[in-house]
Symmetry: C2
Subunit: 353 residues, 2 copies
């Protein structure tokens, strides 16, 4: 797929949901999560190269539709993603997504891909990457609070990247926990279904919250958070949606992806505008401290940022070649003479006649 001839550029490789599943199984899901984490880490390392902007959101009473563009000067990517918590009532996904990778020099698309699955994987890979830097040494147990669509991906990424082997699961809906237990069986975990958040956090060095209700909720209260814990707060983020009591934020050192976006959408929307946070890319590059001691509470206020989707699309493009797991999509008009777009249209009719 490198250096295509001009006429090839009219066709854009498209990875459907079915092909994404095939590709992920070909790679192996743990390896895909590790690979994604490595690409995401590489792009955090060259963070300053990227054009960054808070996502462009269209809010409605039912949810939000967002565009998330970014560029490193050579490649450009954007993701279309919606967030509609009520969708599940109608049998629809809360979050669906697709994305595009393009070449900055020509503006021509290079890859179109489903990103509902890919977003789930990149979100989990990002969480695990952050935990690799911030979780206490020797962490092997994670509380998984919220057992919806994102939960299994979080569990597998934390295992693949950080070596988590014990999971303590809790959801307000026991059926969600049953589903996650069923899906995670046979993946090498010791699984414990818990009856409360309090029970789930017992002995856990990492606490992951991934719940989805659109309201100021308090999934985790201050008294449940012990010294030395790493909190991975990634629940579906938007203005008005938080999971943690603000007292936890005050006690913890908070790490974020891109502050202008996190202050709008993340847990820290509860805090003053100047609430101190550390940008995670600075931890990766060594320009800011990560975990400093084993009593410190570290908190990743993850909302998902465009560079992570950029990394994910880059990863998929690099893994796609030779697999055949894509279709060529006739997305771009490509007349022989670029000034003769109309002639191309006109000749198409001559041919049909």
């Amino acid at each position: 797929m490198s250096a295509p001839k001009p006429s090839d550029l009219a066709f854009v490789p498209f990875v459907s949901v079915e092909n994404m599943m095939r590709l992920l199984h070909r790679i192996g899901i743990p390896d895909a999560l590790t690979g994604l984490a490595a690409y995401i880490e590489e792009d955090f390392r060259r963070w300053e190269l990227f054009d960054k902007t808070p996502r462009v959101a269209a809010h409605s009473s039912d949810g939000v539709i967002e565009l998330m563009p970014t560029s490193d000067g050579t490649s450009y990517a954007f993701k279309y993603v919606n967030g509609h918590p009520k969708n599940t009532r109608d049998g629809l996904q809360t979050v669906t997504a697709f994305g595009l990778l393009a070449e900055v020099a020509t503006g021509y698309p290079l890859l179109l891909s489903e990103m509902t699955l890919l977003t789930a994987l990149r979100t989990a890979a990002s969480s695990a990457l952050v935990a690799k830097y911030l979780a206490p040494d020797g962490a092997d147990t994670m509380a998984l609070i919220g057992n919806g669509a994102q939960s299994e991906f979080q569990a597998l990424a934390m295992k693949a990247v950080c070596g988590i082997t014990h999971l303590r699961l809790y959801d307000i809906d026991p059926k969600a926990t049953e589903k996650a237990m069923r899906n995670l069986a046979g993946h090498g975990f010791t699984l414990t279904a818990c009856a409360s958040v309090q029970e789930a956090v017992e002995g856990a060095q990492i606490i992951t919250t991934c719940t989805a209700d659109k309201q100021f909720a308090t999934i985790l209260t201050d008294n449940l958070v012990g010294a030395g814990v790493h909190i991975n707060a990634i629940g579906g983020d938007c203005p008005g949606k938080t999971e943690l009591h603000r007292d936890i934020l005050s006690r913890a050192d908070v790490f974020v992806e891109y502050p202008p976006q996190t202050r709008i959408e993340g847990e820290i929307q509860q805090m003053p505008e100047d609430f101190p946070v550390t940008e995670f890319w600075q931890v990766v590059t060594g320009t800011a401290a990560g975990r400093r001691n084993d009593r410190q509470i570290t908190l990743f206020d993850g909302v998902g940022f465009a560079t992570e989707d950029f990394s994910a699309l880059r990863y998929i493009r690099d893994r796609l070649e030779g697999t055949g797991f894509y279709q060529e999509l006739d997305l771009l008009a490509d007349p022989d003479d670029p000034r003769d777009l109309f002639g191309m249209l006109q000749r198409a009719n001559d041919g049909a006649a």
Copy 2:
């Protein structure tokens, strides 16, 4: 395509370049241009309903990649479009585009479509719609300055919507004029190839400039613009790119789509921030005057706005049903249980084994 079942929602109708050409020939290009102009007019009429934002641009030394989102509260649309003037040297299009229509209530995509051709048509339809309101009564002759990829579409739209029958063509490259003359033969025009801008504007009531170089150019000087003329200035727009001498802007009444975007990209970037303009939607709704007399110079400083793409996607969607001119794209993950995304992925492997 109306009221699909949930499981159908995982598949998004996709209109390829080839299917777009088939659809346009099925409708007939003049009818398609008239139909698009009517949809664009309808959406200008309900302008105040729309979420509007200047396009989200990623600039580089070679060109620009833009996302153009908008929503009327029920439907959402965005277009991806690039502008790379140097692309033609490598046999590539200066402008390529694709777009998406989605449902605000669920965030689910409804239509994905090529928009390189569709943008050419909607740009021409918008120009013709504006000319219908602003050109002098009885206009039958248009100067067409710049005979590149957009020129034939402009000519056909001005004929279909405004009754233009005489075209006077000029381009700095005579080969471009030859191409346009050849393409427009047999479409009911009287065609005159001209050796200069001065010759082209003789007797024309409408002057269309559609040139593409990225620099401050002066395609049209003040002395060439007579009383009563309507100028349709639609050349590829971006900061630093203009076609008209500023003296023309001072003499004319300037009409624009969305001032915050036009002041950045349009001809009026040469003028002070408070240079007076009329928003075209106000002419359509009757809340602002259009042409007031036959001496007035009216000028459409068209840069292309997201609502026009919204209208175009809406038009295509409405014309698509029953034609078969689309593919169903497996773009969205749609597990039976929306919380069980991972189970869907896992079972895909079981099925393959």
